[in-house]
Symmetry: C3
């Protein structure tokens, strides 16, 4: 490949020799042509890679719609407006804050290993390394992290608290973490050109740790500090399911998240036109496809495992649980999606479903209330995904995806030694630590200032009535009442409702 890009007129002229009328000019002429060809390949690469990255970013953005619908369906009807508004604002406020600071903190290299310091307000963008499309892609990731957290604290949090934590998370907490693990300057990045952590760096390809654990643990603190919803645990401390108001919206949201995950995971390559060996059918495009396949298989396995696991535990075939299991599988495979074999993804999904069921058990026991199981799902399964990658990453794929450092460690079970696992355990610890020291105090401060939880009256009446101008649904029509027909509403019978 490099050959074509370096046609040397001098060398070619010497081959033609003195008998050629004008060897230098001929060689020059030919080499100029080649350099034009080479330039056109550069253009083509940028165009193809930008197309790929932009459409991936659009897919990731569609996850925000998925979150909105998932959250809306999972809360009670009386809080639907509230939760949807937070989802819209995660995207909107996130857009402004990530534009002003977030992107700079995350990718503003050259910088130190802790935090970036260029590109505030997209100044000096585009550069050779960072184009606008890259910003858009990273923005879509940032708002996903905020979206996760909003699920944990749903149905009982003041709207102002949302605005504050969401801006802080998207503008500072998340960008710093992504700097550590994804920026070439980050102290634990696998692409760091200097010293790699444990000679390896952390392979968190699309962010089981960086996105999902950050969002999940932030949610954990929020939900812990404000406590469970009224009525979630009865006098004797037994858990009572506060069912979401619409399973259709839950399924809609889940499928949209699945759809968007194809931007999240395969899109994290950010480029598709890079061959491993030029002229071969096997290149980064295959790795992209493989990543989509591992993602699919992990989710599918987790869904099936949850289906049968929950059937045994509860006696029901429960669609919302299956949806959560599916998402748990996705959250787990996100770290290792590009560096594991498809069969390993099946293992990943299987364990992820069990991790989620286990975390939910624990949560119930300690009376932790998370309306969307977001802390369990994204925190728990995300952590498992980070560990999983360190166990199952294959040598070949690690070297293809993170090239230029031959002999780097890979998965423990694949014979790659324990150093990748060590790096990944460090990752879990520092993410927990960092989110604890930033989001913990923030939520605690809001709590102390009475800005976190809504009043009991508001909670019982529902926030939509008290804060958002009315219920989300008006199925009964005033016109009907005019006509004097009183519609009877059939209530689901709570006695037959399982936990």
């Amino acid at each position: 490949m490099a050959a074509a890009m370096s046609c040397s007129p001098d060398q070619l002229a010497s081959f033609f020799g003195p008998n050629t009328t004008n060897a230098a000019a001929a060689a020059d002429y030919i080499c100029t042509q080649f350099s034009a060809v080479s330039d056109k390949f550069v253009d083509t690469s940028f165009a193809v890679d930008s197309t790929y990255l932009l459409f991936s970013a659009y897919l990731v953005f569609s996850m925000q719609l998925g979150f909105a619908m998932l959250c809306a369906g999972s809360v009670r009807a009386k809080n639907t407006m509230n939760i949807m508004l937070t989802n819209v604002l995660d995207a909107a406020a996130g857009g402004l804050f990530y534009y002003l600071f977030g992107f700079a903190f995350a990718f503003g290299g050259p910088s130190n290993g802790f935090i970036g310091k260029h590109f505030f307000g997209l100044k000096d963008v585009p550069t050779a390394a960072f184009d606008y499309s890259y910003f858009l892609y990273q923005w879509a990731f940032a708002i996903a992290a905020a979206g996760i957290t909003s699920g944990s604290i749903a149905e009982r949090t003041q709207f102002v608290a949302y605005l504050i934590y969401s801006s802080f998370l998207t503008g500072f907490v998340y960008p710093v973490v992504s700097h550590w693990f994804w920026s070439p300057d980050g102290w634990a990045s696998a692409t760091n050109t200097g010293n790699l952590l444990f000679g390896s760096g952390v392979i968190d390809f699309a962010g089981s740790g960086v996105v999902h654990m950050v969002g999940g643990i932030a949610g954990l603190y929020g939900a812990l500090i404000e406590g469970p919803r009224i009525g979630r645990f009865d006098h004797s401390g037994r858990a009572i399911t506060l069912r979401g108001h619409s399973a259709s919206l839950v399924v809609l949201g889940t499928f949209l998240l699945w759809f968007g995950w194809y931007g999240f995971n395969p899109g994290s390559f950010t480029k598709i036109l890079s061959p491993y060996v030029s002229g071969s059918y096997y290149g980064q495009w295959s790795a992209v496809g493989r990543t989509a396949v591992t993602t699919t298989l992990a989710g599918c396995t987790a869904a099936l495992t949850t289906l049968f696991g929950k059937r045994i535990l509860s006696g029901h075939w429960n669609v919302t649980d299956v949806c959560n299991g599916l998402l748990g599988g996705f959250a787990a495979i996100t770290a290792g999606c590009s560096v594991v074999e498809p069969w390993a993804a099946v293992v990943c999904g299987f364990v992820a479903a069990l991790v989620l069921i286990g975390c939910n058990r624990v949560a119930e026991r300690v009376k932790f209330d998370d309306p969307l199981e977001a802390a369990q799902l994204h925190g728990g399964c995300g952590a498992w995904g980070v560990v999983f990658t360190a166990l199952f990453a294959t040598e070949k794929y690690v070297n293809e995806v993170y090239p230029g450092k031959p002999g780097r460690p890979y998965g423990l079970f694949m014979g790659g030694g324990g150093r990748l696992l060590a790096a990944h355990l460090i990752q879990i610890l520092v993410i927990i630590g960092w989110v604890s020291v930033t989001m913990g105090p923030l939520f605690f401060g809001l709590h102390k200032m009475n800005l976190l939880r809504i009043s009991e009256d508001d909670e019982l009446a529902g926030m939509d009535m008290t804060r958002h101008g009315g219920f989300a649904y008006v199925y009964e029509d005033e016109a009907h009442k005019h006509n004097g027909i009183q519609m009877r509403r059939v209530e689901p019978n709570p006695n037959t409702t399982p936990s």
Copy 2:
């Protein structure tokens, strides 16, 4: 094009001749550059085609969401959880089974004409012919077939029966059919390198037969064997409409299917970077665009035809009927989308709408109950689409899309003789036959083992209550009732509501 790919140093050196100082080295130098250029074009093609195929696969996947919403909206509220769960599991179980066997049965060449035998569990993938992205694309097709069937047997089928038929259909029945018509080894494939069926092979470009008829006929058997829903036909045998519970979900699902169909039909080229004549504006990219246009026009025409047809028949402007008509038009154009002119697509859609109305009439007369009209729509319109292609395929497009066999038959009405039509009639017969001998006995066996239909009580109460842990919707708030608080449904007060 071929020229650039075959720079011969020997030939070039002979042109330079003995007077050049080092003719061999000069020629070699130049040709090495060209071979590097050629390699980069290979890379570019793979990257562009993979990008195209992957995003098409994502679109096709979004059809699964469309099916889920369409099905959910078309059943009664009491069975919503059930039907959505089956849709989630079509995708999830389909993912595992298609990974383990399905893809191998379908595309595991070299093999016999009946069934493939390589690539079990994606072993030996990627190859030059089959990359991971191709698997993902075909998986999305396979689950679409299963999704069609689930509509026919909705509202009265045991959940276990779903799991069994869905795995069997995605893992075996559908892959075998797709092997016959789409694998280069298939006995009726239009790309078969040896003997083509009737010198033509079957041009079922994106699967009116392979996907839609298979799904529709499987549904037909299921629905026939278990009989109509309770209340679908009254004592005197008149049909009573059991209206779906949400037209919004139906429209949502229909539009999502429309959206996804742009992956289904144009995506079936699987490559976009292949010129017909290098350097011209007219190439496969134009054919891809044309396919998207024919698809659009067929659906639009069918929708309008249904609108006016139904208006005359029933006196109402009915949106759910229009949605079904639209989908019928899409199902019909799927076979011929790439080889017909846009005006022919209008004809296709017009007839498809009439076919669907006719099939629904017949179904009502014979007391066949299909909650989503899936057998009529995908079976009936699919069969019309297969016939339509044999009538209207143009010579030019057939030779462009299936190159390398000049003089092959094309559409009867376009002057291409009857052999394509003969091949297509064979296709319809063998698909009906194959699905009858596989899915028929399966459903019958399930029926005999009492695993197919739910009990009458369950059916009246709705499966969501009895099997899936509760209704899909909770618009009023139960927790409050537990706490003994009787909530008055607070209507939004128009006076205090801001405009």
Copy 3:
């Protein structure tokens, strides 16, 4: 590109007579380069077609967004009606745009007023227009019709929808798009000579061409048929007739946002065109920048609406935030490719205020638009056009509309008044043209009693009277329903 045209005549003399067969050698080498050049042509077409096709699919997804937004914004009793009109906008639009619309819009060569080739896609594809371009433009055309259907929701006869929708997609909109987007259009910025005010109108993705056209058409429809029953009480105070499902509104809004990434960045049509070959900065960067400006304008408008409405009404209202967001998008659509990201923030901020102002005004004059479509698409669209005339930067204008050095750009960026003047002309002629075509159409329908439904139908809801039943059946017993239907 020029340098890849290898000339054997030039190369052969350089080899000279001593080479055994200089002509053949030169020919051989140049033959290879020609082949390479051809393959680049192939690659460009494939990449650009992929780009525009997927953009078209995204724009199509906006139709789904409109359907859900409209459905959620009307009362439950009219849901079937409004969704049917959205499906038919797409379907009827498909047929009419195929038969005439595209020809009127892009049938070049033609006069400046209306195109005249490619009826029924005859002579397609050509080197300028491929099928994918048609698909992309169709998706735009139906978006314009979708906007209008919101304004006249809940009180319009279904036949009137069919008529205006076909007329708008098949004639009114295509003519406007010819003026501003066809290379023949009298006000197009892509014209090769005689630009309007030396500038032409830079309405990149259609704040004017799409949004104002749709919005003003809706304005006339809603004005002529008057407000819904109960929208203004006896003393004339406005009563909010709340939509039946905020979830559908949010769903629709996000889908529109999603689709807008096809609408704005997609309007480049091509992504593989370098500004200077071999550099990282090319049209792909401009495409990315356009996506970023679009995002920022919408985000800012959403936040502005949130806080302003909080101050005004005391509530955090999600449906208002959604409308504000869409207003920001409608405004940035015109200038998205030629302004800096920081300017997009200003655009969104003002758009939110424009929308709030228009709504106040509408309430004062007792104008009723169930989706605020005229205010949103008409008002914010007009602001977007002015905004572009103020903030378009020199560099981006010359990159996006190349070949006319020294053309005017944004007033505030030091580019003079030429662009702003052209844009004001645009606003005036769009208002005029839509008034002359859609105004009489709606008026005639009104006079023929084809426009508004009867008060009885309106009170009981169109779904029951015209569309065969309610959209929702959460209660189970079918007998009950039929009985109820009969009673009503």
